[in-house]
């Protein structure tokens, strides 16, 4: 019953990979998104900007009118040429002043310096809203997603808008786009005075340009979309050379050039694909230029013919010529902005689709009870996404409250995976994990997590201070007394006190004043982190792999002490330590093949006994 439930849910998930390929299908979607990101955070300012853009549309009409009057007046004044400039200008001063003023308004409504500033302000607002949303989402994403390359692609794409000035640029482009678009409309109204066909001709030419830029923008966006995996690989290669951890091996084995070569091949592919799109875009661009020029030519021809018919004054001629040429230059600008804006806005939709990948870790209503939990695995199977081979097959295991269980077995037997399923980090693909009789999937993850704690084999080395490294075991509860005790329990205090700033010494050489610890010291620190957490279920995965004999002894001695009454799952290859457990589970190929106390298993002479012998050999 429960098998089918969990089985189908992971099945549904595997078919539904986190593909974030989405386009702005309609103008409506475009508008909605624009509203959400730019208007919603700050409506009054957004509307003010829009209003200035709309008002800017009137300026071409005024410019045409003023230019026409000015020229007509100036040419009419002919004949007696005044010798002084003042005399010459005085009668025309009002029109001139108006012309300059209108130009100024026109300019500022399109891209005044305050647009820059507002761009920053809005960027700030949007970032404050989107950054935490993005990272909270990343932090609650189910751990299984990390097994999908598509997830990493989606993450990479969704992250793009979090670049520093992303929203600023998008906003600036939007403002310019709207302002120019409105002023173009104004120009079309202005030329209607020439002939009724003129605005229509300009509209046709304009549509062609807009269409061609739209087509190109789509091509660019599509090619970028497909390049994410290659770019992530490239990033991985460059990290191999620029980060600290791989550095010794890269030098020792002389991998530098080889890795650079790898990087270059990926880069060349990316560049070649982009080049193809650019060539296509030029091929789309040229016919559209010819069409637009033809419509422009038709308007200018009307102008000349109207002049020949005596229907135009010199002033009107100059004014219309100005408007027509300005129309073309702004149209071109609008075209480019459509292209750029499309790219930016599609980036935002990537962010949006990352945010909606799934609802994240279950937050079922059931609260975990306090006290040491009893954990039951009923027919639990687990396969990593995309793999048919199950890592765990039909595990039945019950760990009583306060029981200490050692999990042993060969490399790749599924020990670490079992630990992660038990902790609720992975959802079983079959069967069910029950805590005190309640299905883990129905339980509130937060309350369950507060009860459990673990030291993983690949523990994290936080580049923070020693104190923070320990306190991160229980970030919500900072208690210096408890922290000091946790540090004392496994000798962290011994090396910490020798560091220049004691517990406040930053660790990790990448950062200023950072100190580096040895592998064993890092491991001790990870264990202290667990001690600091007041968990009732402890999962300890290879806690002493890099510890010296004394530290190892200390860890086990302390674990027994700490464990008093707690439920413990110990994963270890040091079989001597398994003796400390109440029960030993021997895992092979994802199945439990032996279990019992250490003495029972040794007496039984099975695989465990054989393994123990092999190790004990060294100490006889």
């Amino acid at each position: 019953m429960s098998n089918t439930r969990s089985g189908s849910s992971i099945g549904a998930k595997t078919t539904q990979t986190p593909d974030n390929r989405r386009r702005l299908r309609s103008g409506w979607e475009f508008a909605k998104f624009f509203y959400l990101t730019f208007v919603a955070p700050w409506p009054p300012i957004a509307f003010l900007l829009l209003a200035t853009a709309v008002a800017g549309a009137a300026s071409p009409i005024v410019i045409v009118f003023v230019t026409r009057r000015l020229i007509d007046d100036v040419t009419a004044a002919g004949g007696a040429a005044p010798s002084s400039i003042i005399d010459a200008l005085a009668p025309h001063a009002p029109w001139l002043a108006l012309l300059v003023l209108v130009r100024l308004v026109d300019h500022y409504s399109q891209m005044g310096p305050f647009h820059y500033y507002l761009g920053y302000l809005l960027n700030d607002r949007s970032r404050r809203k989107f950054d935490p949303m993005f990272f909270r989402r990343a932090l609650t994403m189910r751990l299984e997603w990390f097994e999908y390359p598509e997830y990493h692609d989606a993450l990479e794409r969704g992250r793009e808008p979090l670049e520093d000035e992303y929203f600023t640029w998008t906003l600036r482009n939007s403002i310019q786009f709207f302002a120019k678009a409105f002023s173009i409309l104004g120009m079309m109204v202005a030329v209607s005075g020439l002939h009724w066909t003129s605005p229509m001709l300009l509209a046709v030419g304009g549509s062609v340009i807009v269409w061609s830029h739209w087509v190109r923008a789509r091509r660019i966006v599509n090619v970028h979309w497909t390049q994410t995996p290659d770019q992530r690989r490239q990033e991985y290669m460059s990290r191999l050379l620029t980060e600290r951890r791989p550095a010794p091996e890269v030098r020792l084995f002389g991998l530098g050039r080889h890795i650079v070569g790898h990087w270059r091949r990926l880069m060349d592919r990316v560049l070649a694909e982009r080049m193809v799109v650019r060539r296509q875009n030029v091929r789309t661009g040229i016919p559209s230029i010819l069409i637009t020029t033809a419509t422009l030519g038709a308007v200018l021809l009307t102008l000349v013919l109207q002049g020949a018919n005596g229907a135009l004054t010199a002033g009107a001629l100059v004014a219309y010529v100005y408007v027509t040429l300005e129309f073309v230059s702004r149209l071109n600008d609008v075209g480019w902005r459509i292209q750029v804006l499309h790219e930016w806005l599609v980036g935002l939709t990537y962010l949006q689709s990352y945010l909606s990948i799934d609802k994240g870790e279950g937050t079922g209503g059931a609260q975990a009870a306090h006290g040491s939990p009893e954990v039951m695995l009923e027919g639990v199977s687990f396969a990593y996404p995309g793999s048919k081979e199950p890592v765990l097959s039909e595990i039945d295991l019950s760990i009583g409250g306060g029981e200490r269980v050692a999990l042993v077995g060969e490399n790749g037997a599924g020990k670490t995976t079992l630990a992660k399923v038990l902790l609720g980090l992975y959802q079983p693909t079959g069967g069910v994990v029950k805590v005190n009789g309640v299905d883990l999937e129905d339980m509130d993850k937060g309350s369950w997590r507060r009860l459990s704690g673990a030291v993983f084999q690949d523990h994290v080395r936080y580049s923070f201070t020693v104190r923070e490294n320990i306190a991160l075991g229980s970030p919500e509860g900072r208690d210096d007394g408890r922290l000091a005790r946790a540090a004392k329990m496994n000798g962290v205090d011994e090396f910490a006190c020798e560091l220049p700033d004691g517990f406040d010494t930053p660790l990790g050489k990448e950062f200023e004043d950072g100190h580096e610890l040895s592998g064993g010291q890092w491991q001790s620190l990870a264990i202290a982190r667990l001690y600091f957490r007041d968990a009732r279920l402890l999962v300890i995965d290879e806690p002493t792999a890099s510890l010296d004999a004394l530290a190892e002894l200390e860890v086990y001695r302390q674990l027994l002490g700490v464990a008093g009454g707690r439920t413990v799952l110990l994963v270890s290859h040091r079989l001597g330590s398994a003796r400390l457990a109440d029960r030993v589970i021997y895992l092979k190929g994802g199945r439990i093949i032996e279990q019992g106390t250490h003495d029972e298993l040794v007496a039984a002479g099975g695989e465990y006994a054989e393994m123990f012998e092999a190790q004990a050999e060294w100490y006889r």
Binding site: L70, V74, A81, H92, L96, L104, P113, Y120, P132, F135, L143, F146, P149, L240, L241, T242, R245, R251, F253, G254, L255, L271, V282, G285, I289, L290, L301, L303, V304, A314, L317, V321, L325, Y384, G386, E410, N411, G412, F456, L472, P475, K509, E510, E512, E516, S518, G519, G520, E542, S546, D548, A549, L550, A551, L553, L575, G576, Q615, E617, Y619
Partner: protein, 601 residues
């Protein structure tokens, strides 16, 4: 004043180097750009001149003393210049391809450099700051300056042409227009310098923020972050840094806005003055109406071009500051001349004795030595176990032996020759190691092993043999595509996960790929199961002659297999001898050994 000029010169003198770099990376493209930019620059000037004639001939037609056909001819000519200009712009888009390639090559140089600097660099935050800055500069600024290098010539041609045209009306007009841009230049340069200063100061904060973001989004920390509920804590730390950076940047933006507003005003005023002047000249009958139309267009263009060139010059000036960061980084000293092929195992060097002579080592930036006056001799064919408490300096000593670090004092000699006098790549070809922090390369299993000796990357039998030695062959056989299976699932949907123990076996196989004279095994069994551990130690015991093997281990039972045991305590060798010797002595080693042996009694 002279100080400012000197500063500006200090930046602009890098320009030729950048141009040389660009020409070297794309000689054909750069020459095409040079030629077309002159032609492209002349088109708008022609357009303005044609426009004047068109208007004048049309005015003649209106006034009834001109031929319609003449006007139509000039109309066609205007459309011609229009098409030319747009087509030229279209091809400009292809120029971005060159920029992309230039940036790509520069980035390649950057990462290649990172792969060649001495390992000790990775112990210093300054290195990461420089790297970060160089990277930042590549992301936007270098690309910018590449664009500018190729667009400024066209702008200049255009400006000179338009200025000449405007000057035909009156020579004072161009002067007015040019002067009006001075305030803008000053504002922009000043703001650019401030932003650069802030960015530079923020590098450590930026890196810290990136680190926190990685913790929140990467796979490595995902399990622990979830389990311990660290998310909100990390997010809040990031938020604090962001706030701080934001404050400074917003302040700059605000100042920029107010000052720029003023500067722009002057610019528009100047245009108004020129318009008035032209109107006056027409009234006086010294200019035709055609000039007025053409001048509106020309002044409009000129204004746009001038502010573009100005913006570009400022941008270039600011960009050059960043470019200097990049070039600085690229000038960093590398480990060796790299005149030989990398990554090949084997060399003429056949070391018989490696000797540590009073070696003391402290990490850069630290005054506490990790090793203090270590003397040790390692002979070919000898197996030495290096044991000691955590943090005693074992792994550091191994890295010194491998030539990855250089002693702070004392020396390491190879057959009597100071290791400093041996080309590092030469020495490294003779050594191999399994590190405690072995790498997990998310590539194929074959490459994971083959990386041990790149010249045998496709030599399947050699790779198989090394895998068998390391006990990795069994695991690889279970993979769907055997050695061609990609490991790790970040990049490939057919990628396969491997457990820690399996990864460690692959790391060992990598070390076995080379026929090294000196082999370092740093806790090679930490993640291995008991059976695999036995295999590894057995191999250590039977290690072929002629090799010097250094085994670092906390599994003291394995130390018995060594010819000699060296006990390191707080950077000093305190005990030295065979297992039996040391047990008899009853020192620290004996104590640790019996603690461990107790588990198995």
């Amino acid at each position: 004043m002279t100080a400012t000029l000197r500063e500006i010169w200090a930046r602009w003198k890098y320009l030729p180097r950048l141009v040389v770099l660009a020409v070297r990376l794309g000689p054909i493209e750069m020459s095409i750009i040079a030629v077309t930019s002159v032609a492209g620059g002349l088109i708008p000037v022609a357009a303005v001149a044609v426009l004047r004639i068109l208007v004048d001939t049309t005015v003649d037609v209106i006034e009834g003393d001109g031929e319609l056909s003449t006007a139509l001819f000039w109309l066609a000519a205007l459309l011609g210049t229009f098409v030319l200009e747009r087509v030229y712009e279209e091809f400009q888009d292809l120029r971005r391809d060159l920029q992309d390639r230039l940036t790509a090559r520069a980035r390649e140089m950057l990462i290649a450099k990172a792969g060649r600097v001495p390992l000790a660099m990775f112990e210093q935050p300054e290195f990461y700051d420089r790297l970060h800055r160089a990277n930042e500069s590549l992301q936007g600024r270098v690309q910018n300056s590449m664009t500018l290098i190729s667009s400024i010539p066209a702008s200049i041609v255009r400006i000179v042409g338009l200025l000449a045209f405007v000057a035909t009306a009156h020579p004072v007009f161009p002067l007015i227009l040019a002067v009006s841009l001075v305030p803008l230049y000053i504002v922009e340069t000043r703001v650019g310098a401030r932003i650069f200063g802030a960015t530079r100061q923020h590098t450590p904060d930026d890196r810290r923020r990136a680190y926190l973001e990685d913790l929140m989004t990467n796979r490595e920390a995902a399990a622990e972050v979830r389990l311990f509920g660290q998310g909100e804590y990390l997010l809040e730390r990031r938020e604090r840094i962001t706030q701080r950076l934001r404050g400074v940047r917003m302040k700059i933006a605000k100042d920029h806005f107010t000052e720029r507003g003023k500067a722009n005003f002057g610019e528009h005023l100047a245009v108004g003055v020129v318009f008035a002047g032209i109107a006056a000249l027409i009234v006086q009958g010294r200019l035709t109406v055609g000039y007025f139309a053409a001048f509106i267009a020309a002044v409009e263009r000129l204004q746009a071009e001038l502010s573009l060139v100005l913006a570009n010059t400022v941008e270039m000036d600011v960009s050059l500051r960043y470019v200097i960061d990049l070039l600085d980084y690229l000038d960093m000293e590398v480990e060796d001349s790299q005149c030989r092929e990398e990554g090949q195992a084997g060399s003429a060097l056949e070391p018989a004795v490696v000797r540590f002579e009073g070696v003391t080592f402290a990490y850069p930036g630290s005054t506490t030595p990790v090793l203090r006056g270590v003397d040790l001799e390692l002979r070919a064919g000898e197996r030495v176990a290096l044991v000691g408490r955590n943090g005693a300096g074992k792994s550091t000593m191994a890295k010194l032996l491998l030539g990855l670090y250089r002693p702070t004092s004392g020396r390491i000699t190879v057959d009597g020759v100071d290791m400093n006098d041996i080309e590092p790549s030469e020495w490294r070809r003779r050594v191999a190691a399994v590190f405690q922090d072995y790498m997990r390369f998310e590539i194929t299993a074959r490459e994971n092993v083959g990386y041990g000796a790149l010249d045998k990357l496709h030599d399947i039998p050699a790779i198989e043999a090394a895998s068998v030695k390391a006990g990795a062959a069994g695991f690889v056989q279970t993979l769907p595509d055997g050695y061609e299976t990609v490991l790790g699932r970040s990049f490939d949907k057919d990628g396969q996960d491997a457990s820690a123990g399996q990864w460690q076996r692959l790391a060992s196989a990598r070390a076995y790929m080379r026929d090294a004279s000196v082999l370092v095994l740093d806790e090679p069994t930490a993640a291995l199961d008991a059976r695999a551990e036995v295999e590894v130690y057995r191999r250590f015991r039977d290690m072929s002659q002629g090799k010097a093997v250094l085994l670092i281990s906390h599994r003291l039972g394995s130390a018995r297999l060594a010819d000699r045991i060296v006990f390191l305590d707080d950077g000093r060798i305190t005990e030295h001898g065979t297992h039996a010797d040391l047990m008899e002595r009853g020192g620290e080693y004996a104590r640790l050994y019996s603690i461990q042996a107790d588990w198995y009694r």
